[in-house]
Symmetry: C2
Subunit: 179 residues, 2 copies
């Protein structure tokens, strides 16, 4: 993704946040993060994020997903003497299907991206619509995919240490400053 | 405040959240907390709150203030071997004047409630409008007051232990389950 494509994604993500009533200050729009995770297929696999705060005690972000976009399977392992990041996802707009460890849901609403299915192992489905939330325990595998209108998801969590995240897909590159 | 007044406040708070695009599920509306802090003057001093999550690692809430309503001066002392609650306030709608420790702001935009001014000691003013935020360090005094249209403020924080809060006004009663 070149710089002008990146700027277009940031503008689009900001517009989606604004439509959800979640305003960013002018100087915050440039701090939106566009995570394509090194896969080079951002429209399919990736997400945009805005980090409100990330300190040694807690973290809060907005996750912005475009229609049918998938955040690939990962987990937050123990780090720095702590249990690993624990996080609560609350859907604000659109809808998202979240997949976590546990018994596979029969007839799931959606599937991992074409061509990458072997890198997705957990299949317990939780659908989140606006006003619904779910908490993911530390060090457990999860992935999520937005519905046809995309999704805005607030993430409340313990401290984020993205460079420690483990992805099932070995092709994923999570750069440390990408949220 | 009797039960029917309490219900009316919850309905009003839910309507304000909804106008800000922050939807509660039907079963969450009853979990809105109405904190009049034992002062019996809720329209002047108090607030409504909704707690999304409060666990041993982090906490997230919405604070709903009615026009010109004040949350009285308090601090979050060290507790349970930790440094005390640290919190980030992000304004979503309306505006709020936050007062924290430091040099008093000349000509502040507003004042503590009439009749209670001796119970307010910090005077450094920070105005928060939508898209603006401020982080309050543990164990430091702070209070805040909504502007003429009220305010919705998202609070991201470390674990909340309300029963440990210290208020400057000795008349305040903070019941443990009131957020």
């Amino acid at each position: 993704m070149d710089a002008s494509e990146m700027e277009a994604v940031k503008r689009g993500a900001n517009e989606r946040l604004r439509e959800a009533g979640l305003l960013l200050a002018d100087d915050e729009v440039g701090r939106l993060e566009v995570a394509d995770l090194g896969l080079g297929e951002f429209e399919t696999t990736g997400l945009a994020l805005f980090t409100y705060v990330n300190n040694p005690l807690y973290c809060a972000k907005e996750l912005i997903l475009f229609p049918h976009q998938t955040c690939p399977e990962h987990r937050h392992p123990p780090v720095a003497g702590g249990p690993g990041k624990m996080e609560t996802f609350r859907c604000r707009k659109g809808n998202v299907w979240l997949y976590v460890e546990g018994d596979a849901t029969p007839n799931p609403a959606t599937q991992p991206p074409e061509g990458s299915r072997e890198h997705y192992t957990v299949r317990r489905e939780i659908e989140l619509n606006p006003g619904e939330q779910y908490t993911i325990l530390p060090n457990t595998w999860h992935w999520f995919k937005a519905g046809p209108d995309g999704a805005i998801v607030s993430e409340f969590s313990s401290t984020s240490r993205d460079e420690s995240d483990e992805f099932t897909d070995p092709r994923v590159v999570r750069v440390p400053d990408a949220g």
